[in-house]
Amino acid sequence: MASQQKRIPIGAVIAAVAVIALVVVGLAVYFLAPKPPEKVKLTLFTKAGLWADFIRDSGAIERFKERMLRERNIEVEVEILTAPHAGYSDKLITTLAAGTVLDVIWVSPDRIPDMVEAGYLLDLTPYVEKWGDWAKFYKANKDMVTYKGRVYAVPHDAAIVIIYYRKDLFEKAGLPVPWQPRTWTDVLEAAKIVMEKIPEVKAGLSPYYGGEIHIPIYAAGGTIYDPADGKFIVKSKAVLFLFKVYYDAFYTYGVAPREMILEKWDTRKLFQEGKLAILIDGTWCYTEKWGPGMTYEIPNREEVIGYAYIPGSGMPGAPDYLVAVRDYSWAIGAKSENPELAFELIKELVSPDIMADWGYKTSHLVARSDAVIGDYAKDAFLKWNTEAMERYGVAKPVVAGTSKYLSILKEIVEKELVYAGKTPEECMEAFASAAAAKLGANAVKEAP
């Protein structure tokens, strides 16, 4: 009967409608509203001081963060970790050996083969192959970061090792300015004349830059590694020439005091003070050490500092001139959890404007052709060095064991030649024995 029909309470209806409405609105918010950005943290490991400060001030990280938020809705935090310049590579390797996960790493290509063999670095070949800008990098720089056909880093800069000389001391000693030695004898003779004529000069010549101590081998037309059989050359006319050059510098001509090595003189400071006439060192010193506001500032450095190519030996097959090429690059740690993002950060760090700015401020050379812009393109010193690199540049072989070979060579030069005063022939024998012991007898050989 109609009077007995039950009525649905109005409250229950309102409640049901409210619940359904809430569910619909909740679903709409979940699916339609913009998602909050994903948060990711990247680590960037580099040298403390000048290097880390430049990265912070360059704006590269801000640009990268903004781009990631815009393009991928990812909020990236970049944590800069640093190690001091002195012993940087060793601290980096110890950090990686301890299992620390690093995303973007500042590496010297010297170390790449050994670091790759230890499993520290990520193979970047798939990334660079898809990157249009990779074609703009100079071949020499790309070769230095390629090991066994695979790319393990992106070059950030290049530098060469050249001869610096004090124009004021040369003029006072009656030597010609500008000066370009044709042989190593020219270098030694010039150093001797300056020392004889100017008693205040403590040293005529600092004959090597530690990281490129092997330069005389290449100056003699030789090499340190034979790719045909994969062996390091420990005895040859070129290797003997190296020991002879250093023996002449320290003993025969006496233009490089032994104390320079034994007491670890600061040669860049001596050059600034006008107590060292000729110095073999890297392009970066021009600004990093002697530039305005730097530790060993030389006022009017353009008038005071001269620079020249390193001469060949004059032996058959030897080059007329040469300059040793080095660079620094950015790699990605093998354990990085965000390699794609890390590569995007690297792209920002090596963008043409950042690279040119770094090159101009620190006297490094750019590693890509489209970075010759702005103040960098107008700088005479950088222009000279870029041409020198293109004409006379020689780089170390990118093979495992190169670092160890050079470290043994340096040890023999310093301990056997400088400290013990052994003859070039004795030093070469000692080098061959030490290299065979540490690299393996099958990894070394004698060459003509």
Partner: protein
Amino acid sequence: MPEETHRLTLVLFIIPALAVLTVFQLVPMLWAIWFSFTDMALVGRKFLDYSFVGLKNYEEALGDPHFWLSMRVTLYYCIASLVLRLLIGLAAALYITSKTFRGKRIIAGIFLLPYIIPGTIHPYVWLSMLETEHGTLNMILRALNLPPQSWMFERLTESIIAINSWAGYALAMLLLASAIASIPKEYYEISDIYGASRWFKFRKITFPLVKYPLILTLILIFKEDIDDFTYAYMFTGDTPYPDFRTEIIGLYAYHKAFMDYELGFGCAIGFIIAVIVFVLTLIQLKISRV
């Protein structure tokens, strides 16, 4: 408290310290011992693919002329530091335990300062003081019309020994002072009655009665110095001098392991140092039971 509950309480109190010791001392030590029997390197294939080589690292170390050169430098460093630390420490201990001098408590506090200042901070002060051209020490010598010295180069080893002695004499002072303070006062009172001089009292009373604590202090200081590292590293840097003038054995092990990346070899040298320290500790324990 029942015996078992008492033991359980003791164990619970010890466990945290044991855990810390195990994680930060025992495990790394065992790991290092294991690596010393391998050809493990920090770079190259030998990082991932190292092999057990038995006693090869030890044979190489003991047959390496650089190892023995480093041991000679270490011995010179340890003996020179030991003598200086002991002499200065003994003199300071006699002073602070003497009745005669006033202000002993304040002076004792000042004597302790070098020991308290962290060993990674004051070397920087010394670096500037010992600098050849503008350092404080040479400025004083010039003011006295004396020839300035090459503290950072020709006399570098002696400089490090002096700094180590300056920083470390307080340990000898504290140990010897407590030994001197425990000598019964009656001995001195009787010698005063007989008119004994200070030197006589030192020779016949003080020295014989602190002989054993002195020997223990000697061993402790020697142990501390033989695996020392800080000052030599801060004054040497990452690469050794060609003549190994500051290459004490701890620094040599560090350079081998972390500069040449020969971790296995470096660990072998470290273990040799550990064995020397262990033997010295056994001697120390035996003497302390006498």
